[in-house]
Amino acid sequence: MLKVSIYRYNPEVDEAPYMQDYDFDTQGEDLMVLDVLGMLKAKDSSISYRRSCREGVCGSDGMNINGKNGLACITPLSECLKGNKLVIRPLPGLPVIRDLVIDMSQFYAQYEKIQPYLVNNQPAPGIERLQSQEDRAKLDGLYECILCACCSTSCPSFWWNPEKFIGPAGLLQAYRFLADTRDTDTENRLANLEDPFSVFRCHGIQNCVAVCPKGLNPTRAIGHIRNMLLRGAT
């Protein structure tokens, strides 16, 4: 029998958050955490969480599973269980709206800051802006981010300064556009990042790398941004 402990908080009813325990019979199957949540919700409909695609593409069901951030839909019990205990909490560091649902406004505000779109001041060509295969390959490991926020909410620098430090997810995307040969706004993008907080709050502890459900490496992208800043300023 699996012991499942879920973070519960409904601000309309509860004075403080608390952990609620459930017994769950997996019937010997290696279920995904999202499946467990779904079956528990069938019994207790008040449990709240976000989910959508249930296959690791939409990034809705990021949560803290036995102490590690991840997507519930692609985290099998065999990967995350400690003994027979499953502890599920919301992603840390952002305000809780209810149970496992967090307010991601601050996360999106940082994403918006890095201007996550191509900026090109050249006249638009007749059909499309072409890239060589080599230039396109530079975007691999960057464009795959699904903005689930597992990385940024595992980063202490983002916990302490979420309004000033862009965070790993935003910086991975910042580099995605800095590395794009079709973008002509490199200078301006870099100028917006050289203050003491936006990039330089990263101390390279690599929590982001350890938790990214897509296997991406924000720390490496941040290193590339630093090198670009260094190249331009020395």
Partner: protein, 124 residues
């Protein structure tokens, strides 16, 4: 997009602080390695020997570089700690006053240390 500034960080520029933090770390490491090896190589070290070593011009240069490096390194590092933990987010509205107070205190102590240590190592 609002520009993020900070008037109490060492150089007021993230890139510059980041580079200085690394360069000063290397200088401090060189000093620690040299002095450790020196102590190991001179098990019967006495005061006169130690004084003579620190009286050499090359050693004075290393001492001054190390003293200045410690001042810069700790300014940048402690500024980082204070802006992480002494914040309105963690401590409430009083935090701004406390942070400014601690930052000014940290900078003052660092400058006192710097002048005092330079006077000692250059005066040998």
């Amino acid at each position: 997009m609002g520009v993020i500034t900070n008037i109490t960080s060492f150089s007021r520029n993230g890139l510059s602080d980041w580079l200085l933090q690394r360069v000063t770390a290397v200088i401090i490491t060189v000093y620690i390695c040299f002095v450790t090896f020196y102590f190991l190589a001179q098990p019967n070290l006495d005061y006169d020997q130690w004084r003579n070593l620190n009286g050499l011009f090359s050693m004075k240069v290393l001492n001054v570089l190390t003293v200045v490096s410690i001042a810069i390194h700790s300014w940048i590092g402690l500024w980082g700690v204070l802006t992480d933990y002494v914040t309105v987010r963690l401590l409430g509205p009083k935090a701004t006053f406390l942070r400014v107070l601690f930052q000014i205190g940290m900078i003052t102590i660092t400058l006192i240390y710097l002048i005092w240590a330079l006077d000692i190592v250059w005066g040998i």
